[in-house]
Protein backbone atom coordinates (compact mmCIF):
# COMPACT_ATOMS: atom_id res chain seq x y z
CA UNK A 1 0.00 0.00 0.00
CA UNK A 2 1.40 3.38 -0.99
CA UNK A 3 1.18 6.34 1.35
CA UNK A 4 1.23 9.91 0.17
CA UNK A 5 4.42 11.65 1.30
CA UNK A 6 3.33 14.41 3.66
CA UNK A 7 4.56 17.94 2.99
CA UNK A 8 5.11 18.24 6.74
CA UNK A 9 6.41 14.86 7.93
CA UNK A 10 6.37 16.00 11.55
CA UNK A 11 2.54 15.99 11.47
CA UNK A 12 1.34 12.41 11.86
CA UNK A 13 -1.99 10.74 12.49
CA UNK A 14 -3.68 7.36 12.33
CA UNK A 15 -6.37 9.16 10.28
CA UNK A 16 -4.96 10.16 6.90
CA UNK A 17 -7.76 12.66 6.18
CA UNK A 18 -7.16 14.46 9.47
CA UNK A 19 -3.42 14.46 8.87
CA UNK A 20 -3.91 15.94 5.40
CA UNK A 21 -6.30 18.60 6.72
CA UNK A 22 -3.85 19.72 9.42
CA UNK A 23 -0.96 19.75 6.95
CA UNK A 24 -2.95 21.77 4.39
CA UNK A 25 -4.08 24.23 7.07
CA UNK A 26 -0.51 24.70 8.30
CA UNK A 27 0.85 25.13 4.78
CA UNK A 28 -1.84 27.72 4.00
CA UNK A 29 -0.92 29.65 7.17
CA UNK A 30 2.65 30.12 5.79
CA UNK A 31 3.87 29.95 9.40
CA UNK A 32 7.41 28.69 9.81
CA UNK A 33 7.38 25.64 12.03
CA UNK A 34 9.97 25.45 14.80
CA UNK A 35 12.91 23.09 14.41
CA UNK A 36 12.07 19.80 16.13
CA UNK A 37 8.35 20.55 15.75
CA UNK A 38 6.23 17.43 16.06
CA UNK A 39 2.50 16.88 16.48
CA UNK A 40 0.85 13.45 16.61
CA UNK A 41 -2.92 13.27 16.29
CA UNK A 42 -4.55 10.03 17.37
CA UNK A 43 -8.20 9.54 16.56
CA UNK A 44 -9.56 7.37 19.36
CA UNK A 45 -12.89 5.90 20.41
CA UNK A 46 -12.67 7.36 23.89
CA UNK A 47 -10.61 10.38 24.85
CA UNK A 48 -9.10 10.01 28.31
CA UNK A 49 -8.69 12.61 31.01
CA UNK A 50 -5.50 14.00 32.53
CA UNK A 51 -4.57 13.47 36.14
CA UNK A 52 -3.57 17.03 36.83
CA UNK A 53 -4.26 19.07 39.95
CA UNK A 54 -3.18 22.40 38.51
CA UNK A 55 -5.69 25.20 38.24
CA UNK A 56 -7.83 25.10 35.09
CA UNK A 57 -8.02 28.26 33.02
CA UNK A 58 -10.68 28.49 30.36
CA UNK A 59 -9.74 30.29 27.15
CA UNK A 60 -12.77 30.19 24.89
CA UNK A 61 -13.75 26.55 24.84
CA UNK A 62 -10.28 25.24 25.62
CA UNK A 63 -9.42 24.33 29.21
CA UNK A 64 -5.75 24.93 29.94
CA UNK A 65 -3.51 23.57 32.69
CA UNK A 66 0.03 24.89 32.45
CA UNK A 67 3.09 25.98 34.36
CA UNK A 68 4.84 24.65 37.45
CA UNK A 69 5.43 22.17 38.85
CA UNK A 70 4.82 19.83 35.91
CA UNK A 71 5.98 22.09 33.11
CA UNK A 72 4.03 20.45 30.35
CA UNK A 73 0.70 21.85 29.16
CA UNK A 74 -2.58 19.96 29.21
CA UNK A 75 -5.48 21.08 27.04
CA UNK A 76 -9.06 19.81 26.95
CA UNK A 77 -11.61 20.85 24.37
CA UNK A 78 -15.08 21.59 25.73
CA UNK A 79 -16.89 21.45 22.38
CA UNK A 80 -16.18 17.78 21.64
CA UNK A 81 -13.84 15.28 23.26
CA UNK A 82 -10.22 16.09 22.48
CA UNK A 83 -7.15 16.59 24.61
CA UNK A 84 -3.53 17.54 24.05
CA UNK A 85 -0.29 17.40 25.93
CA UNK A 86 2.50 19.79 24.96
CA UNK A 87 5.97 18.97 26.20
CA UNK A 88 7.54 21.29 28.77
CA UNK A 89 10.48 22.46 26.69
CA UNK A 90 10.10 20.94 23.25
CA UNK A 91 7.71 22.04 20.46
CA UNK A 92 5.99 18.68 20.55
CA UNK A 93 2.35 17.78 21.12
CA UNK A 94 0.38 14.59 21.46
CA UNK A 95 -3.31 15.10 20.61
CA UNK A 96 -6.16 12.65 21.16
CA UNK A 97 -9.22 13.37 19.08
CA UNK A 98 -12.71 11.88 19.07
CA UNK A 99 -14.68 11.27 15.89
CA UNK A 100 -17.10 13.91 17.16
CA UNK A 101 -14.29 16.47 17.18
CA UNK A 102 -13.06 15.42 13.72
CA UNK A 103 -16.60 15.97 12.43
CA UNK A 104 -16.25 19.65 13.41
CA UNK A 105 -12.95 19.90 11.53
CA UNK A 106 -12.84 23.60 10.64
CA UNK A 107 -13.73 24.70 14.13
CA UNK A 108 -11.49 22.04 15.67
CA UNK A 109 -8.51 23.43 13.74
CA UNK A 110 -9.23 27.05 14.50
CA UNK A 111 -10.04 26.48 18.13
CA UNK A 112 -8.27 23.51 19.67
CA UNK A 113 -5.39 22.91 17.26
CA UNK A 114 -4.63 26.63 17.12
CA UNK A 115 -4.31 26.82 20.92
CA UNK A 116 -2.06 23.76 20.80
CA UNK A 117 0.10 25.50 18.22
CA UNK A 118 0.12 28.74 20.21
CA UNK A 119 1.93 26.85 22.99
CA UNK A 120 4.22 25.15 20.47
CA UNK A 121 5.22 28.43 18.80
CA UNK A 122 5.72 29.95 22.23
CA UNK A 123 8.53 27.44 22.69
CA UNK A 124 10.18 28.98 19.63
CA UNK A 125 9.86 32.60 20.81
CA UNK A 126 6.64 33.47 18.96
CA UNK A 127 3.95 34.84 21.29
CA UNK A 128 0.34 35.00 20.20
CA UNK A 129 -1.48 38.34 20.23
CA UNK A 130 -5.15 38.70 19.34
CA UNK A 131 -4.56 41.35 16.69
CA UNK A 132 -4.62 42.37 13.05
CA UNK A 133 -1.54 43.73 11.31
CA UNK A 134 -0.85 45.53 8.05
CA UNK A 135 1.48 47.98 6.30
CA UNK A 136 0.14 51.26 4.89
CA UNK A 137 1.10 53.00 1.66
CA UNK A 138 3.87 54.90 3.47
CA UNK A 139 5.48 51.72 4.70
CA UNK A 140 4.31 52.12 8.29
CA UNK A 141 3.45 48.98 10.20
CA UNK A 142 0.12 48.89 12.02
CA UNK A 143 -1.40 46.63 14.64
CA UNK A 144 -5.10 46.70 15.42
CA UNK A 145 -5.76 45.08 18.76
CA UNK A 146 -9.01 44.29 20.49
CA UNK A 147 -11.80 41.89 21.20
CA UNK A 148 -13.90 40.04 18.70
CA UNK A 149 -16.54 42.41 17.34
CA UNK A 150 -14.29 45.44 17.91
CA UNK A 151 -13.89 46.15 14.19
CA UNK A 152 -10.50 44.56 13.52
CA UNK A 153 -11.52 42.35 10.62
CA UNK A 154 -13.82 44.87 8.96
CA UNK A 155 -11.15 47.56 9.22
CA UNK A 156 -8.52 45.13 7.89
CA UNK A 157 -10.77 44.40 4.94
CA UNK A 158 -11.16 48.14 4.34
CA UNK A 159 -7.38 48.62 4.43
CA UNK A 160 -6.94 45.65 2.10
CA UNK A 161 -9.38 47.22 -0.35
CA UNK A 162 -7.21 50.38 -0.27
CA UNK A 163 -4.15 48.40 -1.33
CA UNK A 164 -2.41 48.06 2.03
CA UNK A 165 -0.23 45.04 2.58
CA UNK A 166 -2.17 42.84 4.96
CA UNK A 167 -0.73 40.20 7.24
CA UNK A 168 -3.62 38.96 9.39
CA UNK A 169 -6.99 40.12 10.64
CA UNK A 170 -6.93 38.03 13.80
CA UNK A 171 -3.97 35.73 14.52
CA UNK A 172 -0.64 37.44 15.10
CA UNK A 173 2.55 36.22 16.73
CA UNK A 174 4.89 38.68 18.37
CA UNK A 175 8.59 37.98 17.98
CA UNK A 176 11.95 39.67 18.19
CA UNK A 177 13.56 40.98 15.01
CA UNK A 178 17.00 42.34 15.88
CA UNK A 179 16.22 45.17 18.31
CA UNK A 180 12.58 45.58 17.24
CA UNK A 181 9.35 43.78 17.98
CA UNK A 182 7.70 42.29 14.91
CA UNK A 183 4.47 40.44 14.31
CA UNK A 184 4.19 37.37 12.13
CA UNK A 185 0.76 36.84 10.61
CA UNK A 186 -1.00 33.50 10.36
CA UNK A 187 -2.34 33.65 6.82
CA UNK A 188 -6.05 32.93 6.75
CA UNK A 189 -9.11 34.52 5.12
CA UNK A 190 -10.26 37.88 6.50
CA UNK A 191 -13.53 36.86 8.12
CA UNK A 192 -16.42 39.32 7.79
CA UNK A 193 -19.81 39.24 9.43
CA UNK A 194 -22.80 40.35 7.33
CA UNK A 195 -22.57 43.90 8.75
CA UNK A 196 -18.93 44.17 7.74
CA UNK A 197 -19.71 42.91 4.26
CA UNK A 198 -22.32 45.65 3.85
CA UNK A 199 -19.72 48.30 4.72
CA UNK A 200 -17.01 46.96 2.44
CA UNK A 201 -19.28 45.57 -0.26
CA UNK A 202 -17.00 42.93 -1.73
CA UNK A 203 -18.28 40.25 -4.06
CA UNK A 204 -17.19 36.67 -3.81
CA UNK A 205 -15.60 35.23 -0.74
CA UNK A 206 -15.98 31.84 0.85
CA UNK A 207 -18.66 30.91 3.34
CA UNK A 208 -17.15 30.07 6.72
CA UNK A 209 -20.19 28.19 7.90
CA UNK A 210 -18.96 27.25 11.34
CA UNK A 211 -18.29 30.93 12.08
CA UNK A 212 -21.31 32.43 10.27
CA UNK A 213 -18.93 34.69 8.37
CA UNK A 214 -17.60 35.11 4.86
CA UNK A 215 -13.86 34.80 4.29
CA UNK A 216 -11.76 36.77 1.83
CA UNK A 217 -8.11 36.22 1.09
CA UNK A 218 -6.32 39.59 1.13
CA UNK A 219 -5.73 39.34 -2.63
CA UNK A 220 -9.49 39.07 -3.27
CA UNK A 221 -9.87 42.52 -1.70
CA UNK A 222 -7.01 44.12 -3.63
CA UNK A 223 -4.24 43.71 -1.08
CA UNK A 224 -1.00 41.84 -1.12
CA UNK A 225 -0.25 39.51 1.75
CA UNK A 226 2.82 40.15 3.86
CA UNK A 227 4.01 37.77 6.53
CA UNK A 228 5.88 40.06 8.92
CA UNK A 229 5.07 43.57 10.09
CA UNK A 230 7.19 45.77 12.36
CA UNK A 231 4.55 47.88 14.09
CA UNK A 232 5.04 51.66 14.15
CA UNK A 233 1.42 52.34 15.15
CA UNK A 234 -0.75 50.43 17.63
CA UNK A 235 -4.48 50.99 17.71
CA UNK A 236 -6.72 49.47 20.37
CA UNK A 237 -10.08 49.23 18.70
CA UNK A 238 -13.68 49.53 19.84
CA UNK A 239 -16.85 50.35 17.96
CA UNK A 240 -19.04 53.33 18.70
CA UNK A 241 -20.13 56.88 18.02
CA UNK A 242 -20.68 58.66 14.75
CA UNK A 243 -17.12 59.77 14.09
CA UNK A 244 -13.93 57.77 14.24
CA UNK A 245 -11.73 59.04 17.07
CA UNK A 246 -8.14 58.26 18.00
CA UNK A 247 -6.76 59.20 21.42
CA UNK A 248 -3.06 58.86 22.33
CA UNK A 249 -2.28 56.48 25.18
CA UNK A 250 0.33 56.49 27.94
CA UNK A 251 2.93 53.74 27.73
CA UNK A 252 1.91 51.97 30.95
CA UNK A 253 -1.71 51.87 29.78
CA UNK A 254 -0.55 50.41 26.49
CA UNK A 255 1.30 47.59 28.20
CA UNK A 256 -1.67 46.85 30.45
CA UNK A 257 -3.87 46.60 27.35
CA UNK A 258 -1.37 44.43 25.50
CA UNK A 259 -1.33 42.01 28.41
CA UNK A 260 -5.07 41.53 28.04
CA UNK A 261 -4.68 40.48 24.42
CA UNK A 262 -1.64 38.31 24.91
CA UNK A 263 -2.73 36.51 28.06
CA UNK A 264 -0.51 33.53 27.32
CA UNK A 265 2.21 35.46 29.15
CA UNK A 266 0.58 34.36 32.40
CA UNK A 267 0.72 30.61 31.80
CA UNK A 268 4.30 29.45 31.82
CA UNK A 269 6.98 30.98 34.06
CA UNK A 270 9.84 29.88 31.80
CA UNK A 271 9.01 32.27 28.96
CA UNK A 272 7.06 34.94 30.85
CA UNK A 273 9.94 37.42 31.18
CA UNK A 274 10.87 37.26 27.49
CA UNK A 275 7.22 37.61 26.51
CA UNK A 276 6.70 40.57 28.87
CA UNK A 277 9.88 42.30 27.66
CA UNK A 278 8.73 41.86 24.06
CA UNK A 279 5.36 43.45 24.83
CA UNK A 280 7.18 46.35 26.52
CA UNK A 281 9.44 46.73 23.47
CA UNK A 282 6.38 46.88 21.26
CA UNK A 283 4.85 49.58 23.47
CA UNK A 284 8.10 51.58 23.29
CA UNK A 285 8.63 51.39 19.53
CA UNK A 286 5.09 52.30 18.40
CA UNK A 287 2.82 55.31 18.64
CA UNK A 288 -0.22 54.03 20.50
CA UNK A 289 -3.84 55.06 20.32
CA UNK A 290 -7.23 54.07 21.60
CA UNK A 291 -9.76 54.23 18.76
CA UNK A 292 -13.48 54.21 18.47
CA UNK A 293 -14.28 53.17 14.94
CA UNK A 294 -17.40 54.61 13.33
CA UNK A 295 -19.04 54.26 9.91
CA UNK A 296 -17.42 57.52 8.70
CA UNK A 297 -14.19 55.54 8.39
CA UNK A 298 -15.70 53.76 5.42
CA UNK A 299 -16.83 56.94 3.68
CA UNK A 300 -13.54 58.80 4.02
CA UNK A 301 -11.26 58.28 1.05
CA UNK A 302 -8.11 58.60 3.18
CA UNK A 303 -9.38 56.05 5.68
CA UNK A 304 -7.36 55.41 8.78
CA UNK A 305 -3.93 56.68 7.73
CA UNK A 306 -5.16 60.26 7.36
CA UNK A 307 -5.79 60.40 11.08
CA UNK A 308 -2.09 59.91 11.71
CA UNK A 309 0.17 61.99 9.46
Amino acid sequence: MLHRMSAIPSVTSNDSALEAAVVDWLLASRMVLPPDFRIRLSVVDAVGSWEDNREVFLQGDVAIQAGDPAGWVHLNWRTAPARARIEAQQPEALVEVSREAVAKLDYFLRSFVLVTLIFIWKRAGHYHVHAASAIDSRGRGWMLIGASCSGKSTTTALLASRGWQVSTDDIAFLTSREDRAAVVGFRSPIALRPGGMELIGPAGGTQLESRLKTGYWPEELGATWVQTVEPDILVFTALGGERTMLTPMAAADVLAELLQWSLWVMFEPMAAQEHLDLLARLARQARCYRATLAPDLFAAPGALEDFLP
Binding site: F57, G67, A251, A252, L255, A256, L259, L263, V265, M266, P269, A272, Q273, L276, D277, L279, A280, A283, R284
Partner: protein, 90 residues
Amino acid sequence: MRDRRYLRHADLRLTDLEGEGVVLHLRSRRYFSVNATGLTILEALKQPRTFDELVAAVLGEYDVSTDVASETTRAFLDHCLATAVVEEVP
Protein backbone atom coordinates in the same frame (compact mmCIF):
# COMPACT_ATOMS: atom_id res chain seq x y z
CA MET B 1 12.87 44.07 63.53
CA ARG B 2 15.45 45.67 61.23
CA ASP B 3 17.12 42.26 60.73
CA ARG B 4 14.10 40.90 58.89
CA ARG B 5 14.79 40.03 55.29
CA TYR B 6 12.36 40.25 52.42
CA LEU B 7 12.17 38.66 48.99
CA ARG B 8 9.84 39.22 46.09
CA HIS B 9 7.69 36.26 45.11
CA ALA B 10 9.27 33.87 42.61
CA ASP B 11 6.20 34.13 40.39
CA LEU B 12 6.76 37.83 39.82
CA ARG B 13 7.95 39.22 36.49
CA LEU B 14 8.59 42.91 35.93
CA THR B 15 9.58 45.25 33.19
CA ASP B 16 10.13 48.97 32.99
CA LEU B 17 8.46 51.31 30.60
CA GLU B 18 9.26 55.01 30.51
CA GLY B 19 10.09 55.15 34.20
CA GLU B 20 7.17 53.06 35.37
CA GLY B 21 7.04 49.39 36.09
CA VAL B 22 4.56 46.75 35.05
CA VAL B 23 4.44 43.70 37.30
CA LEU B 24 2.98 40.30 36.51
CA HIS B 25 1.99 37.99 39.33
CA LEU B 26 1.87 34.69 37.48
CA ARG B 27 0.26 32.63 40.21
CA SER B 28 -2.75 34.92 40.55
CA ARG B 29 -2.66 35.87 36.84
CA ARG B 30 -2.88 39.52 37.82
CA TYR B 31 -0.84 42.47 36.69
CA PHE B 32 -0.40 45.95 38.05
CA SER B 33 1.76 48.99 37.52
CA VAL B 34 4.13 50.57 40.02
CA ASN B 35 5.92 53.89 40.02
CA ALA B 36 9.66 54.22 39.52
CA THR B 37 10.43 53.91 43.25
CA GLY B 38 8.34 50.77 43.52
CA LEU B 39 10.19 49.32 40.55
CA THR B 40 13.55 50.07 42.22
CA ILE B 41 12.44 48.31 45.39
CA LEU B 42 11.06 45.27 43.57
CA GLU B 43 14.21 44.96 41.47
CA ALA B 44 16.29 45.03 44.65
CA LEU B 45 14.07 42.32 46.14
CA LYS B 46 15.21 39.80 43.54
CA GLN B 47 17.58 38.83 46.36
CA PRO B 48 16.75 38.81 50.09
CA ARG B 49 17.08 42.35 51.48
CA THR B 50 16.65 44.01 54.83
CA PHE B 51 14.57 47.15 55.16
CA ASP B 52 17.73 49.26 55.51
CA GLU B 53 19.15 47.76 52.32
CA LEU B 54 15.97 48.69 50.47
CA VAL B 55 16.15 52.25 51.76
CA ALA B 56 19.77 52.38 50.59
CA ALA B 57 18.67 51.19 47.14
CA VAL B 58 16.12 54.03 46.96
CA LEU B 59 18.68 56.58 48.15
CA GLY B 60 21.08 55.32 45.49
CA GLU B 61 18.58 56.08 42.75
CA TYR B 62 16.77 59.20 43.94
CA ASP B 63 17.83 62.51 45.42
CA VAL B 64 15.62 62.39 48.51
CA SER B 65 16.20 62.57 52.26
CA THR B 66 16.64 59.43 54.34
CA ASP B 67 13.30 60.13 56.04
CA VAL B 68 11.43 60.33 52.75
CA ALA B 69 13.15 57.20 51.43
CA SER B 70 12.28 55.32 54.63
CA GLU B 71 8.63 56.38 54.59
CA THR B 72 8.25 55.54 50.91
CA THR B 73 9.94 52.17 51.31
CA ARG B 74 7.90 51.27 54.39
CA ALA B 75 4.60 52.12 52.72
CA PHE B 76 5.44 50.19 49.56
CA LEU B 77 6.84 47.19 51.43
CA ASP B 78 3.77 46.97 53.68
CA HIS B 79 1.52 47.02 50.64
CA CYS B 80 3.56 44.30 48.93
CA LEU B 81 3.51 42.12 52.05
CA ALA B 82 -0.25 42.55 52.39
CA THR B 83 -0.80 41.48 48.79
CA ALA B 84 1.68 38.54 48.94
CA VAL B 85 3.86 40.06 46.28
CA VAL B 86 6.76 40.09 48.75
CA GLU B 87 7.39 37.69 51.62
CA GLU B 88 9.55 37.65 54.69
CA VAL B 89 12.30 35.03 54.46
CA PRO B 90 14.58 33.45 57.10
